[in-house]
């Protein structure tokens, strides 16, 4: 304990022998750590938004379908269990965010244009919990209930169709007997989404209205369930799996959208690579600082060895010095990161590159995401690898022959 105390004292005082060098090194570590955390927060924020938008477009972190629906998402491949029974089971299971839907391909026509869309028959009360639509950004009104026979389309689709609120459009799809099912709907609302592609793809009407149009009785094509953590959907998946019949398919969002799933893994890997690349740049400065610090103190180290200090204590002293540098550098970096990310919580407007972002499936506003595990990763990488990098100069110092080191005096 006493030895440890003097090692800490020597390390601390030696650290401040060359104040300018120490301050420069602290600034370098601090800025490096800040860059690690800040860039990671931006990257994670972008990925998080992409994934959330992706899940919103599905939507549902876990979904249940007829086994043939994923290859042929038509009215012919509905869930075998009646909607009322599904409602009973999922309602009793205690899920907070779930809905059953009828989702079919359709063609929407105005008096000027026609477009292929995904038509969703929904229960707005349940979808509201899933966050499918940002209701605050609906122009006009959204659907009242599952019996509502009006239609809500995206703002971009309305522009394409040259239609608008109050106008009538015709929806055409197929019933299970492959007969054309069509009818006119009045547009009552235009929804907005961060991604224009969502506005052009989805069209909403009441679930019961669509069931009636398609003559499918009390059946739906999918069940969507959302939890609180999209990175860990296995518990949710297991719970859903237990509730449904064996012949239906239960899918995680990563399986329904493999691009997003792999993107999440790639970005996690990218963050690690990014952190390590910055560390490598930092480590040169750190090792150089320690090498210089050791080189300047050769005689002193020789003296301490001659007086009876063990080589392991010399090694410990240099490592403690490195630890001080790293800890203070990390502290500065973390404070800088928090100070620079906090004001950006409202998002960073990147609308100048909105089209490029949209191609990547990302919205034109970036919300930095400061995750504790990313901060811990950056800190752990810098501290652990920093100490490992310091071993070389510390080891060299510990191996000095005391008399040779002392002779440097002459």
């Amino acid at each position: 304990m006493l030895r440890l105390r003097i090692l800490f004292m020597l390390a601390w005082r030696n650290l401040w022998r060359n104040k300018r060098r120490t301050l420069i090194m602290l600034a370098a570590i601090g800025i490096g750590v800040w860059a690690m955390i800040f860039m990671t927060a931006l990257t994670q924020g972008m990925v998080d938004k992409m994934v959330r938008d992706g899940i919103t477009a599905l939507p549902g972190e876990v979904q249940v379908h007829n086994p043939d629906y994923l290859d042929d998402p038509t009215v012919a491949n509905l869930l075998p269990t009646a909607d009322s029974e599904l409602q009973r089971r999922f309602g009793a299971a205690g899920f907070n965010q779930w809905a059953t839907r009828l989702r079919v391909p359709a063609v929407i026509s105005s008096e000027r244009e026609s477009r292929g869309v995904t038509l969703l028959g929904i229960d707005p009360a349940r979808e509201r919990q899933l966050g499918f639509v940002d209701y605050a950004r609906v122009q006009g009104r959204f659907l009242y209930n599952a019996e509502d026979d009006a239609i809500v389309i995206g703002r971009a689709l309305a522009a394409t169709l040259e239609t608008g609120i109050g106008k009538r459009v015709v929806i055409m799809s197929q019933d299970p007997q492959n007969n054309i099912a069509d009818r006119g709907f009045r547009v009552v609302g235009l929804f907005r989404a961060d991604l224009e592609s969502l506005e052009k793809t989805f069209v909403f009407t009441g679930k019961k209205t669509l069931q009636s149009l398609l003559k499918v009785g009390n059946h739906v094509s999918e069940i969507a369930v959302t939890g609180n953590e999209y990175r860990n959907v296995d518990p949710l998946y297991d719970k859903v799996r237990r509730l449904v019949d064996e012949q239906v398919v239960v899918s995680r969002w990563t399986e329904l959208n493999p691009y997003l799933g792999s993107m999440l893994k790639v970005m996690d890997g990218f963050v690690l690579v990014w952190v390590i690349v910055i560390f490598l740049a930092l480590s040169f400065g750190l090792v150089n600082t320690l090498v210089m610090a050791v080189f300047e103190r050769v005689r002193e180290i020789g003296l301490m060895l001659a007086l009876g200090m063990k080589p392991s204590n010399i090694l410990g002293q240099i490592m403690i010095e490195s630890m001080f540098l790293l800890i203070f550098g990390l502290l500065i970096g973390n404070l800088l990161a928090v100070a620079s990310i906090a004001p950006l919580r409202g998002g960073i407007d990147v609308s100048v590159v909105a089209k490029g972002m949209a191609m990547m499936g990302s919205a034109p506003v970036l919300y930095p995401l400061l995750r504790i595990q990313d901060v811990l990763l950056a800190n752990a990488v810098v501290l652990i690898l920093g100490l490992l990098a310091s071993l070389s100069p510390a080891w060299r110092a510990a191996r000095y022959e005391p008399i040779k080191a002392l002779r440097k005096v002459d």
Binding site: L2, R5, I6, M9, L10, N14, A306, K310, P311
Partner: protein, 230 residues
């Protein structure tokens, strides 16, 4: 009791194309409590002998015994421990750790030995007073003169009560008055604590005052004088 025994010590350095014998089959015994001066011209081997006795220099051949224990066969860790527990060092220059105050330098060895703070403080205060540095305890080496620094080094060398103190040219950088004061201090400490002192020097002021003078040349002892008799 024998404090130091060297038997047939040999050490050769290579300097360019030339081999220089720093120790040439040198044997010597120094009794506990003796005050010995090793005298030789530059390159005569006195520093090499001192370093070999202190376990800082490994001889090519021969044996070194300290307090009845052979040390030339010990490993680095054991030698460090021997120096820490039994030997006090005073070097010619660069004696002190620059980031520590006079008191902390004096307490350094005791701290490595694990001596409690109160005891360290008591001993360092007494020793610094004895070497005439009372009031300068908190000064860093850079704030002290060469003589004051040497006295701090002497205090550090004897404060933990080592059996043996080795001093290499301790007066080389000191004015005559300070040098005399330092030798008086050595003598006092030798008398008070019965510590064995081995001093390497070619300073005639020091040689004149010590009880035993060993003269060396080319790594061999050429004369071993008991000055008390003369």
């Amino acid at each position: 009791m024998t404090a130091v025994r060297c038997v047939e010590l040999c050490k050769t350095y290579r300097q360019g194309e030339q081999d220089i014998k720093a120790l040439d089959h040198l044997s010597v015994d120094i009794a506990a409590g003796e005050f010995v001066c090793l005298s030789a011209p530059s390159g005569g081997g006195k520093t090499t002998l001192l370093n070999a006795i202190g376990g800082l220099e490994e001889p090519d051949s021969g044996e070194v015994w300290i307090a009845g224990k052979r040390i030339d066969t010990l490993g680095k860790g054991a030698l460090a421990n021997l120096r820490l527990q039994q030997i006090g060092f005073v070097f010619q220059a660069y004696n002190l750790i620059p980031v520590l105050s006079a008191r902390e330098n004096v307490e350094f060895v005791m701290q490595l030995q694990g001596i409690a703070a109160a005891e360290r403080h008591e001993k360092s205060t007494a020793l610094l007073q004895q070497v005439g540095l009372a009031g300068l305890e908190d000064r860093r080496p850079a704030q002290m003169s060469g003589g004051q620094q040497q006295r701090v080094a002497v205090a550090r060398a004897v404060v933990s009560g080592p059996a043996l103190v080795l001093a290499d040219e301790p007066t080389a950088n000191l004015d005559s008055k300070t040098a005399e004061g330092l030798i008086d201090l050595f003598t006092d400490l030798n008398n008070i604590y019965a510590t064995t002192f081995v001093i390497a020097t070619h300073d005639p002021r020091v040689m004149a005052q010590v009880p035993r003078l060993i003269k060396m040349l080319d790594g061999r002892i050429v004369d071993d004088i008991d000055q008390r008799a003369s």
